[in-house]
């Protein structure tokens, strides 16, 4: 069964190839079937292989398809490596991917470039699977760049609007900055180990580098650079909100569920190197904590439904980074999975709303959709509850609670990280329910054209169910001893040691987290649903609040900062040098020669006696020189 491994990425690639070559001439139904079907079959194969994996419990399956190239002992293969970590990712990618593909068939039904959309989506799924299944870092890099390309293509899907193209380019270039760091990390790894095979590196690294060695820290930071770029973390987070220019299913698949978590995957995959570099671990945790706060605050102020979700995605990935940074590997991955469910759900719901309102994304133009779109409302509510981590019933609670707990009690955790995460959870609850209240309650402002069809609703319901039950496979220690997920990952990812002194009081912190979430929801209710009291109004209208809101709204000014620091100087430099300053040196040389020619041609007077004179003067000169001692 594991011999079918190669089919998992190959099928979406094949689908993409067929769609690129013949898509324009195919009927729409066939395009949709081909697009969704190839991913669906991949998902089925994943289930089969996953089932076998779970029952046989090997450490990993490896399948080499062919040797990519072989130079001077550098022999990366096109080879796939499936272990528990990959399995989780592959499962999410294929399964959520399949649901989103199905949903897209409905969502994109009116689009002209139907085939192009599905071709890119399939290409994306293929690349993403390549990324998570890669057996060596170079192949991982292939997938890594491949998803970047698809992200570019899909963000700029509606290419006629130059702003979309700009957003797409921004996404590609900023992630590419991170990729460059990662590439340099690969150079160092290759130089040190003579291979890029992940397992080989991971097994040799502890022997080569002592804990905290300079090289290990350097490599870890470089890899972190790549991860930060891809996952939209500080300081390379600015592309992700703009990436919402793409169609909503794209945002759901690429910019929420899968691609942006590639950074999480990379760090988890190379966990050994990060364990060797405590400084890098700390950096991961701090980046995660700061990002989740900054992005959360920004999400509070946005009005574009998709932008709120985008900032929320950044914030949630911040949680994952925090988890990885404190060494709670499996908690990070668990949150990734749950996040993929509920964030995809939220995006798809948002898509359903947007399409029902004729591509209206501004929340201020929505309202009262509870009655018009009941299915969407309920599924959205489930997703929102999961995002806000409402206690006990939602999957989000279980995954986020783990992170909060390890941020405090894990051996690398400390109270500051915990506080950041806790505040983040509070903010999350506020902005999530702000969204719910503004969108679904109040009075209707835009006419709803038609409710979503079955093709769109079914994926919503499936994802909604997953957003609730997904959390029950891994319960907190004090609830019950059910740790299916971390048991699965245990061979790949090291466990985490818990500080025993505070281990006893776990239930207290759970209560605190739950309380914070509920208070957040209540605050949102006060400000955005109920009529505001004068006091609340005065807070909301105060000049300080306005200034903060403006600052947060602009994403903490990062865009502007980068614009002045990097973009403008580069463009300025490029433009002043458009005609190539070096060329002017040569042109100057030519001009000099021409002017000399002009001067010398003056001596060609045509008067013979002048020439004779020249001869005489020359003769005198030569004679004089020869006579001089």
């Amino acid at each position: 069964m594991e011999n079918l491994l190669w089919l998992i990425p190959a099928l979406p690639f094949a689908g993409a190839l067929l769609l690129i070559l013949f898509g324009r001439r195919m009927p729409r139904n066939l395009v949709a079937i081909l697009g969704a079907g190839s991913v669906g079959i991949s998902a089925l194969i994943t289930l089969l292989i996953g089932f076998q994996f779970l029952s046989a419990r090997p450490d990993f399956y490896v399948q080499q398809v062919w040797t990519w190239f072989d130079v001077a002992g550098f022999t990366p293969g096109i080879a796939f490596h499936l272990d528990a970590l990959s399995l989780v990712f592959v499962f999410v990618v294929t399964f959520v991917g399949f649901l989103i593909h199905v949903y897209s068939a409905g969502y994109m039904a009116d689009e002209e470039d139907f085939a192009r959309f599905f071709a890119c989506m399939n290409l994306f799924v293929g690349s993403m699977l390549m990324l998570v299944l890669a057996d060596n870092l170079l192949l991982l890099y292939l997938g890594w760049e491949g998803v970047g390309l698809c992200s570019y293509l899909l963000i700029g899907f509606w290419y006629k609007n130059p702003a979309n193209g700009y957003a797409a380019r921004k996404a590609f270039i900023i992630t590419r900055v991170g990729d460059t760091a990662m590439a340099i990390g690969l150079f160092i790894l290759f130089q040190t180990f003579g291979t890029l095979n992940i397992q080989a590196i991971l097994s040799e690294a502890p022997q080569t580098w002592p804990i905290g060695s300079q090289m290990a820290v350097l490599v870890a930071f470089l890899l972190l650079g790549g991860a930060v770029g891809k996952s939209g973390q500080l300081p390379l987070q600015t592309w992700l909100p703009d990436a919402m220019a793409g169609p909503t299913p794209v945002s759901a698949l690429i910019h929420a569920a899968t691609m942006v978590t590639a950074g999480v995957y990379l760090i988890a995959r190379t966990n050994v190197i990060f364990e060797l570099a405590p400084a890098a671990m700390l950096a991961v945790a701090i980046i995660g904590a700061v990002t989740l706060l900054i992005a959360g605050c920004t999400a509070l102020t946005q009005y574009d439904l998709k932008r709120v979700l985008a900032y929320s995605t950044i914030s949630q990935i911040g949680y994952m980074f925090l988890a990885l940074g404190v060494g709670a590997w499996s908690a990070g991955i668990f949150h990734f999975m749950i996040h993929a469910f509920f964030k995809a759900l939220l995006f798809l719901c948002a898509g359903a709303i947007i399409i029902a309102l004729h591509h209206e994304q501004d929340m201020r133009q929505m309202g009262g959709l509870r009655r018009a779109l009941p299915v969407v409302f309920w599924t959205f509510l489930i997703g929102a509850a999961s995002l806000a981590a409402l206690p006990l019933v939602t999957a989000g609670f279980y995954s986020k609670d783990q992170i909060l707990w390890y941020a405090l009690a894990g051996e690398r955790g400390n109270v500051w990280l915990y506080l950041a995460a806790l505040v983040g959870a509070f903010i999350t609850a506020i902005y999530t329910f702000r969204m719910v209240f503004i969108t679904f309650y109040g009075e209707a402002k835009t006419h709803v054209s038609h409710p979503p069809g079955m093709v769109m609703v079914v994926p919503l319901i499936i994802l909604a169910i997953l957003s609730i039950v997904g959390g029950f496979i891994e319960l907190p220690h004090n609830f019950a001893h059910l740790t299916l997920f971390s048991d699965l990952l245990q061979p790949v990812l090291p466990g985490i040691a818990v500080d025993e002194t505070i281990g006893e009081s776990e239930w207290m912190f759970q209560l605190l987290a739950a309380g914070v979430a509920l208070v957040g929801v209540f605050l949102a209710y006060l400000f955005f649903y109920a009529r505001r009291t004068a006091f609340e109004e005065s807070i909301a209208r105060s000049s300080l609040a306005m200034a903060i809101r403006q600052f947060w709204f602009s994403g903490w000014g990062f865009d502007k900062l980068y614009d002045t620091l990097f973009v403008r100087p580069f463009v300025y430099l490029a433009n002043i040098n458009k005609n190539d300053i070096i060329d002017s040196v040569y042109n100057g040389l030519a001009a000099f020669a021409r002017s000399v020619n002009k001067g010398l041609s003056q001596t060609q007077s045509g008067i013979m006696r002048w020439y004779m004179m020249g001869v005489v003067v020359g003769a005198i000169l030569i004679l004089t020189i020869s006579l001089l001692p």
Binding site: V71, A72, Y159, L186, F187, V571, I582, D583
Partner: protein
Amino acid sequence: MILAWILIILMAGGVLAWIAGRLNTTLPRWIALVATFACLCMTVYLWIELPASTDAVGNWIMRFQTPWIPQWGISFHLALDGLSLLMLLLTFFLGILAILTSWREIDTKVGFFHFNLLWVLAGISGVFLTMDLFLFYFFWEVMLIPMYFLIGIWGHENRTYAAYKFFIFTQASGLLMLLSILGLYFVHGYSTGVYTFNYFELVGTSFAPEVGALLMAGFLAAFLVKLPVVPFHSWLPDAHSQAPTAGSVILAGLLLKTGAYGLLRFVIPMFPDAAQAFAPWAMLLGVIGILYGAILAFSQTDLKRLVAYTSVSHMGFVILGVFAFNELALQGVIMQMITHGLSTGALFLLAGFLYDRLHTRDIRKMGGFWTSVPKMGVIALVFVMASLGLPGLGNFIAEFLTLVGSWQANNWLTVFATLGLVAATAYSLRIMQKIFLGNTANHPALADLSLRELMIAVPLVVLILWLGLYPQPVLNTARASVTEQLQAYTNPKVAEPAQAMLQTEASDSLTIHTLKGRTYEPK
């Protein structure tokens, strides 16, 4: 003999095409196509029959030598190894594309055009094949003059200026190389008493350090200008943008590669000490080239000029890799030569297709073409991605290998070179954005690629993908040559003279090898 036939076919074909041009305008095209195709077939045949030569010793697949001017030690000496073979394949492949793309574009002096085209190809093949330095210089000039005509007669509006500039830059640097060749000839003659232009004998010459540096400078002048490396690059944008499409393809795809080939074949093995001393500067030039070319490319509005500056940027990787002196980097360089030939050639072809339809190269007048020409868009996307080094396409392998190799030689320069990838992203995506994406208003609807144009573009796509996913055949072919060029660097102390003598007697094919079995004392 088959090597000589390649040159004869091309040259005779050229003359024939010229004559045929007086009768008919289609005949020269067919003659040129058939001649180039015949050469391609021969080379492919050689490649398939290659396996015997991939082992470490039998590096040279075949040789052809006949005296030309024996008094001065000049012979008509051709030899083929993996590197030459790959370059020849590229030459004839791009040659065919160049002829195909001129099918509609060129309608004046058709016969003379194809004469020039074939003679340029002949000159380039000669450069890749010849193992006699005098003959090398001869072919170096042969490829120059027809190219001058190609630009000067069939070029765009500013063609005379561009043609002059091209000619002066390359000719002046070529003369410096001639001086060095003569210097080498005499230095070798003085020290051994054998006056010869034979590469295999000259390659063993040892010099005083200053002499070596001076002679190398002459060779470098020619190769760096041709490559081009940054302070000497200024002929390239003009020549590339003014040349007809076929000319641009050949310039970017092949002519630049002769510079890289020269570095690999002559500079590296002949002047190991001087090259090592020069290496940090050369790598610095490479890095400057990468970044400078990228910044310039970003600001251009003339499509062909833009692509030309991307060539400057990409060729920076070549010199970076060449002077890293390790197998990874050199393999990367060879890959870069091939994949850059394909990808940049393809971009020029696309520029040609667009010029055909719009009669402008100004990207400010383009935009939103994806709607009307999706096929062209997809193909352009592939090559734009190749140009920014997307994994899965050939250029990635090239750049990655080069960078991995150069990392071992110099960390900081490699870091800056890697930053070039970001800049590459910026300018590459700009091509896509300005031409195919964006608003369609006030732009005419275009006709999508015709069958002929698809025949040109699709093989390029297939090849670049193939090179990206399974480059091993190419790497295998080049491996023996690469190790040979690097012999002076990898094992400086071995190769005892006595051992070399033994080997000399063993067989003729081994003779060549042992000529380089000299000792270089590491400093």
